[in-house]
C-alpha cells in the first residue's frame, strides 16, 4: 500500500466519521467542531489531489470564516442540548432511511459503468497551482470574478438589513 492510498483512506474515514458525528451530535457546538474536522479532511483530499489553492481557500473560507460565524451565532443564541425538543421517532427513522436509499440509488446507478469509472485521478500536474488558476481567473473569468464582488456587497447589505434590530 502506498502512502497516498493510506492517506486517502485515513482522510475518507475521518470525513465520513466527522459527518456522521456532526449529524448525530445533540449539542450544536459539537456539531460545528465536527464539521470543521470534515472540512480539514476535505482540504487534505485537495492537497492529495495537488489542488493546493483550493485546499488553502477551503481552510481559510470554510473552516476559518464560515464556521466561526456559525459558532458566534450559536453562542449568541445560547443553544444547548435541551433546547431541541424531542420529536417523532418515526420521522427520524424515515429521514435516515431516505438518506440511505439515496445513497443506494447512487451506488447502484454508478456501479454498472465500471470501465469508465476505472479512469485514474492525477495526483500531480500543474492544474491546481495558484499560478495556473490565477492566470485563467484573471483572463477568461474576470467578469464572473467582478460580479461576485457585487454579490458579496449585496449579501453584506442584505445581512445588515435583515439582522438590524427594530421594525
Amino acid at each position: 500500500m502506498e502512502i497516498t492510498q493510506i492517506l486517502f483512506w485515513f482522510l475518507s474515514v475521518l470525513a465520513v466519521f466527522g459527518a456522521l458525528m456532526m449529524v448525530t451530535s445533540k449539542n450544536p457546538v459539537y456539531s460545528v467542531l465536527w464539521l470543521i474536522v470534515v472540512f480539514f479532511a476535505i482540504s487534505g483530499h485537495y492537497i492529495l489531489l495537488n489542488a493546493q489553492f483550493l485546499a488553502i481557500v477551503n481552510i481559510i473560507v470554510y473552516a476559518g470564516a464560515i464556521m466561526v460565524l456559525f459558532l458566534f451565532v450559536i453562542m449568541l443564541m445560547n443553544l444547548n442540548a435541551e433546547t431541541e425538543p424531542q420529536k417523532n421517532k418515526w420521522l427520524k427513522i424515515a429521514g435516515v432511511v431516505a438518506g440511505c436509499s439515496l445513497m443506494l440509488v447512487f451506488v447502484a446507478a454508478l456501479r454498472q459503468s465500471d470501465e469508465l469509472l476505472k479512469a485514474p485521478v492525477s495526483m500531480g500536474g500543474e492544474t491546481g497551482l495558484i499560478k495556473t488558476l490565477g492566470k485563467t481567473l484573471f483572463t477568461d473569468y474576470v467578469l464572473p470574478f467582478e460580479i461576485s464582488s457585487v454579490l458579496f456587497l449585496s449579501a453584506m447589505v442584505g445581512a445588515v438589513v435583515i439582522g438590524k434590530k427594530g421594525d
Binding site: F8, V16, A19, M22, V23, P28, S31, L35, V38, I42, H45, L49, A51, F53, L54, V57, V61, Y62, A65, I66, L69, F70, V73, L76, M77, L79, T83, E84, P85, K87, A94, G95, V96, A98, G99, M103, F106, D114, L117, K118, A119, V121, S122, M123, G125, E126, T127, G128, T132, L133, T136, Y141, S148, L151, A155, A159, V160, I162, G163, K165
Partner: protein, 111 residues
Amino acid sequence: MPITYYIFLAVALFSIGVAGVLTRRNAIIIFMCVELMLNAVNLLLVAFSKMHAQNAIAIDPAAVAGVEAQLFVFFIMVVAAAEVSVGLAIIVMMYRNIHSVDVNFLNRLKH
C-alpha cells in the same frame, strides 16, 4: 487512485447531508448539513478535474487541463460564503421573533 473512490466518498458525504437535513429540526444544523452537501460536490468536482487532467497528460505530458472545474469550485465557495452570511442573519432574526430555531415552529411562513 481511480475516480470511483472519490465518487463513492462524495456520495456518502452527500447522503449524510441529506439525512441530516431530513432528521434534524434545528435550523442551524440543517444549514450546516447544506454546507456539507456543497463540500461533497466540491470534492467531486476537483476529483473530476484531476481525472480530466490525467487524460490530457496521457496525450501531451505538458498539458494543463481541468482548470475550469477548479475555478467553478472557487465560485461555489464564493456563493456559499455569501449565502451563509444572509442565511445566518435570517436565523438570528427568526430567533429574535419566536425565541427558537426549531423549524417546526416555522411551518406557516408567518408568526
